[in-house]
């Protein structure tokens, strides 16, 4: 059995939009999307629990320099990374991204495809459903507890109404919530070993995806303009110097909230 974990490499620290392209500025330091680390951890736990899991492969789509951030997953214990990177793919929206990622996952033909809960940069939380449809595989999202038995997975997940329990036969696509586990920290040995693990970069051509089906050409949404948020009242933000509790009380009295 093979597990593929889809990850996104996101800007580290303060986010900004490029006013020219209206896209997220990805020129600075990059890091593995926090929510995807939970998915990596869950894959490693499944591998450790079952002797039939041969491989955990990390799959991503984005700029080539993302490989470095992806090594964190290798340092945690994943076996291999595959990064789809192509200049023609910049600016891909959901339709285009799911097509490219779907093609990369078809090539891997993993039994279980895992996603994290959301992208920390765009707050996107929909990609798994688009990818599951491309792959024509059953989907369970928002999973807070995952278990496996007899070629099936069980997921307990939270919705607006409480907790559901769902079952799906493998191969399947699962999106996990960040409550599912506490990710491990990479060990020094893991970090040292990560560089030697296989790291593959693929172009759209390698996947047989036409350049016109990715990037802005393959996208079906656009951004017209960026503007300021609606005005809001004065806000206060201060660092605690030992007197924060008194200041909160003072503020509440002013607001007649106490």
């Amino acid at each position: 059995m093979k597990i593929a974990v889809c990850v996104k490499v996101v800007p580290d620290g303060q986010l900004r939009l490029d006013p020219q392209t209206k896209r997220l500025d990805r020129s600075g330091e990059a890091t593995l999307n926090t929510f995807d680390v939970n998915a990596v951890e869950e894959a490693l736990k499944l591998k450790e629990a079952g002797s039939d899991v041969e491989e955990v492969v990390i799959v991503s789509f984005g700029p080539e320099r993302g490989l470095e951030a992806m090594r964190k997953a290798l340092a945690m214990g994943a076996d291999r990374v595959v990064l789809v990177s192509d200049e023609a793919a910049a600016g891909s929206d959901l339709v285009a991204t799911s097509r490219v990622l779907g093609a990369a996952l078809e090539r891997e033909s993993a039994d279980l495809v895992l996603f994290g809960q959301q992208a920390g940069d765009s707050d996107g939380a929909v990609l798994w459903a688009a990818v599951a449809d491309r792959l024509q595989r059953p989907l369970i999202s928002q999973v807070a507890e995952l278990s496996r038995e007899d070629g099936k997975v069980h997921g307990k997940r939270q919705t607006e109404y409480g907790y559901d329990v769902l079952e799906a036969p493998l191969p399947a696509v699962i999106a996990v919530s960040d409550a599912i586990n506490e990710p491990r920290y990479p060990s020094l040995k893991g970090i040292m070993g990560a560089k030697k693990k296989p790291q593959e970069t693929l172009s759209l051509g390698d996947l047989g995806v036409d350049a016109g089906d990715a990037g802005e050409a393959g996208s079906r949404t656009e951004v017209y303009a960026l503007g300021d948020p609606p005005a809001r009242g004065d806000t206060v933000k201060l660092e605690d110097d030992g007197s924060a509790a008194e200041k909160i009380v003072q503020f509440l009295l002013e607001k007649k909230a106490l």
């Binding site: 339709v95 799911s98 929909v126 459903a129 607006e160 109404y161 909160i248 607001k255």
Partner: protein, 320 residues
Amino acid sequence: MKFLVFLEHHEAVLQKDSLGVLGKAASLGGEVEAVLLGAGVEGLAADAGRYGATRVHLMDDALLAAPLPQPRVDALETLVGEQDFDAVLFAASVLSADVAAGLAARLDAGLNWDLTDLAVEDGKLVGKRPELGDSVYADVGWTSEPRLALIRSGTFEPAESAGTVEVEKFESRLQDFSLAATMLEQAHEESQGPSIEDADVVVAGGRGLGSPENFALVEELAKALGGAVAATRAVVDAGWYPYAAQVGQTGKTVSPKLYIACGISGAIQHKVGMQGSSVIVAINKDPNAPIFEYADFGVVGDLHEIVPKLTELVRQRKAA
């Protein structure tokens, strides 16, 4: 412009946000139709008529009994293929987000999510999407039809109107892979303990508390203020606190006079459940936490020190 609104329902009641989206579509002019998918749900169509739909496309099928997304993608593909819609609108939820994204891939149709407004400008549909922790508002559009949109929960209030509705039944062949995932246990809302929705003061705890035991800090402060205790999805999912106390997109929506967030980073999922509060105070050790973007009074510091002190000060004041 011809709109199709996806109607979500739970235990024989149409979801309020779906009705709000119906009303918004009606206010934009054009035709507003809705789609109702489920088993034994025909009676809900009339309700949709009272909130702005002129026609409800109904697929009533036992295979649609469980609220699972993939068979709904099949049904919508059929419906959208038979009739021309300029836009298909969804009120965001766990279910509808998966339906909308699955449909986007199926139809190669553009999906814009987390929209907080819709407008028709020069005959073109434009969505408003907050980005980067709501610090930037983008005007977004679509380059294909139908335009798919997910509206942030709690955005539009339902508006009752005196309309009548026509029900049109349709059928769709559901795909094998769409029926492969099954529901073993379905959620039923728990209703126990005091309701956080009615409280004037809500003190909420998040992952920053560090451990379930530390909820005692939040409980003590709530007690001193005569308020209720709430929790974030992350700590509820982790088993630190019961689901009934959860505030956010998949929990309760509260609008107390005072909301104190302790150790809560304030992701969108949380924000939509409490942004209607009159006064918001946040205590968090991470200066970059999104909650500081919308708290009236934010303190960057260690809640384990500040909260007990605050509790003590509030007690003294109430006793005086």
